[in-house]
């Protein structure tokens, strides 16, 4: 555990970057420091590997003051990832990743073997090993940055706005990758960002900091969304707080209806049977069970279903894996007001109406479903 104990950073010109900050960063989880620029989040991170020395207070790593060991020994025991990756442009990708093992005195062969292993872990093709950084895209470079930080298998990973400089699509990919890697490796990660959505997506715990280096709130993301400590936090969380909180409610409890689902080759009898209930629309699937679109029962003629004429079905949610937010999103995206639940392979499991989703949301609020199980559905 990293314990930040009443730490202050004051610069010679009198600026206070961090003001009596105390934080307990739990092991094997992602703790995100988030806040507007000038809130001291990066300074806080850099004090953990002594890139910045605190003016007052102390930082303890597993109960031992980080000042107790030589600074470079400390730094080699913590992975460090920065914005724009900071790769060494004169070294190949594999040698970039092998940096810390080499510093620790590993042989070249062993370091490179380890680096190759990490390339695979962060999703980099082995053909990139002999390339130079300039030959890689921004997203690939950032993966190399993460691999390089993990190379010596440090228990702690410090990440300073690592995904800020890449486009949103690549960023989402990198975030998902980080969560996957974290599931496998269980590092103690301290992650700095100015993006509250990123903080909520990645953080097990989120520390919201305010200008002047003060801690505004330290809580799990669901709690942040449901109970912001003050106006500053609420403001910083932005709009759609309620909708975003739905990300923490699992969709597994939703009862899907499989009745109003018909394959595209359904015969007249089947169409009539399925359309008889008080369902305004039928979901037509292809022969593989994947959704094609909605149609009113009276518009569907057996054997002549015109796929192009069907109403859009929005974005299906993976039942049990995606959250109520995804389910609701699907329902409001489709003009029918119904959402399509699919399994992991994209085959339709059933459909659900806005009304049912709304009830599930009410139930979830009532149960306060923001526990670990809910956490897993992000």
């Amino acid at each position: 555990m990293i314990r930040i104990d009443s730490v202050t950073k004051r610069y010679p010109d009198g600026t206070v970057a961090v003001d009596r900050l105390s934080l307990e960063i739990p092991d094997r989880s992602i703790t995100v420091l988030v806040g507007p620029s000038g809130c001291g989040k990066t300074t806080t991170l850099r004090m953990i590997n002594r890139m910045v020395e605190p003016s007052e207070g102390s930082i303890l790593l597993d109960g031992v003051d980080i000042q107790a060991q030589p600074v470079n020994t400390l730094r080699r025991s913590m992975g460090y990832v920065i914005q724009n990756a900071g790769l060494f442009q004169h070294r190949t990708i594999i040698d970039n990743i092998a940096t810390v093992p080499r510093l620790l005195g590993w042989s070249k062969e062993r370091s490179r073997a380890r680096a190759a292993e990490l390339m695979e872990r962060v999703g980099l093709d082995s053909s990139l090993a002999r390339r130079y950084p300039y030959q890689l895209s921004g997203g690939q470079q950032q993966r190399v940055g993460v691999a390089r930080a993990l190379a010596a298998d440090p228990p702690v990973l410090l990440m300073d706005e690592p995904f800020s400089a890449v486009d949103p699509v690549v960023r989402k990919g990198l975030q998902d990758e980080l969560l996957r890697i974290q599931e496998e490796l269980g590092k103690t990660i301290v992650f700095v960002t100015h993006d509250i959505d990123e903080a909520i997506k990645l953080g097990t715990m989120v520390a919201v900091m305010r200008t002047g280096g003060k801690l505004a709130q330290f809580a799990p993301p669901a709690e942040l969304l449901s109970a912001p400590a003050d106006d500053f936090v609420e403001d910083f969380l932005g709009t759609d707080r309620g909708i975003r909180r739905l990300s923490f409610f699992p969709s597994g409890a939703l009862k899907l209806e499989s009745g109003p689902v018909v394959p595209v080759d359904a015969d007249a009898k089947k169409l009539a049977a399925r359309g008889s209930a008080d369902v305004p629309y039928l979901l037509v699937t292809d022969l593989d069970g994947k959704p094609l679109g909605w149609g009113a029962p009276q518009d569907l003629t057996a054997g002549e279903i015109a796929v192009g004429q069907l109403l859009p079905y929005g974005r299906p949610f993976v039942h049990g894996k995606d959250s109520l937010r995804a389910a609701l999103d699907g329902a409001v995206l489709s003009p029918t007001g119904w959402s399509v639940g699919v399994d992991g392979t994209g085959r339709v499991v059933g459909v659900v109406s806005q009304a049912v989703i709304a009830e599930a949301i009410r139930n979830a609020h009532a149960e306060g479903r923001t526990d670990d199980e809910a956490k897993a559905v992000r």
């Binding site: 080699r76 460090y80 920065i82 900071g86 060494f88 442009q89 004169h90 190949t92 510093l103």
Partner: protein
């Protein structure tokens, strides 16, 4: 008679290829002076440029020294030092070094200053010592610019080392000075051609060193 005729006359005279005043002797003398002057200049310019660049301090002082060095007239310095110290290699070396240190110093400083700070930050954060950061992160990236400073210094030295002949020493300047005295223009033109050729060869050497020493990851675009 045009220049090409002079050149032809100079190089086809077999007498110019032998003895203490032959082309090979003068050529190697010239290279010797040049290498010596470049070595002194590099020993002075590189460490100062590297350290000031790495720590980012003293840039203004450097600019001042460089300007002063460039302002000193090479020929005047040569004559003055010869009067003061007598005939030796020292009065030749000093003006050459004064000429060559500023480009080395200033480009080396700039080369270190212009290294992207984020890999340096990453290196420090990963626990690299300052000397490792300098030698393994900054210098490899700064190398192309440092080499370009050395290259312009070397070319200036090669072209200016002809002054050695003014104070009775050898080198390719011999042909130019003697030729002017003897009104032997083929000698003047021949000597000048050799100096120009040597300057071009210097360029080629630096190009080859760059190909060999600079990482392909840094070289692109350079």
């Amino acid at each position: 008679m045009n220049i090409l005729n002079f050149v032809h006359a100079f190089f086809s005279d077999s007498a110019h290829w032998h003895g203490y005043d032959g082309i090979p002797t003068r050529f190697w003398e010239h290279i010797g002076y040049s290498l010596e002057a470049l070595a002194y200049s590099a020993v002075i310019g590189l460490p100062i440029g590297v350290l000031t660049g790495h720590y980012g301090r003293g840039g203004n002082a450097l600019a001042l020294i460089a300007t002063a060095g460039r302002a000193l007239p090479t020929f005047g310095l040569l004559v003055l030092l010869t009067i003061l110290l007598g005939f030796s290699l020292v009065p030749v070396m000093v003006p050459l070094v004064v000429l060559a240190v500023p480009p080395i110093l200033v480009t080396t400083y700039e080369a270190l200053r212009s290294v992207d700070p984020s890999p340096v930050d990453a290196a420090r954060g990963m626990g690299m010592s300052e000397s490792r950061i300098l030698f393994q992160v900054e210098l490899p990236v700064a190398l192309p610019l440092i080499l370009s400073g050395l290259r312009s210094a070397a070319i200036q030295i090669v072209s200016t080392a002809t002054i050695a002949a003014y104070v009775g020493l050898g080198g390719l300047g011999r042909y130019i000075i003697d030729g002017l005295y003897q009104r032997s223009y083929e000698k003047v033109v021949g000597g000048a051609t050799l100096v120009a050729g040597l300057a071009l060869a210097t360029l080629a050497v630096f190009w080859a060193v760059g190909r060999f020493a600079v990482s392909p990851g840094v070289r692109r675009g350079a």
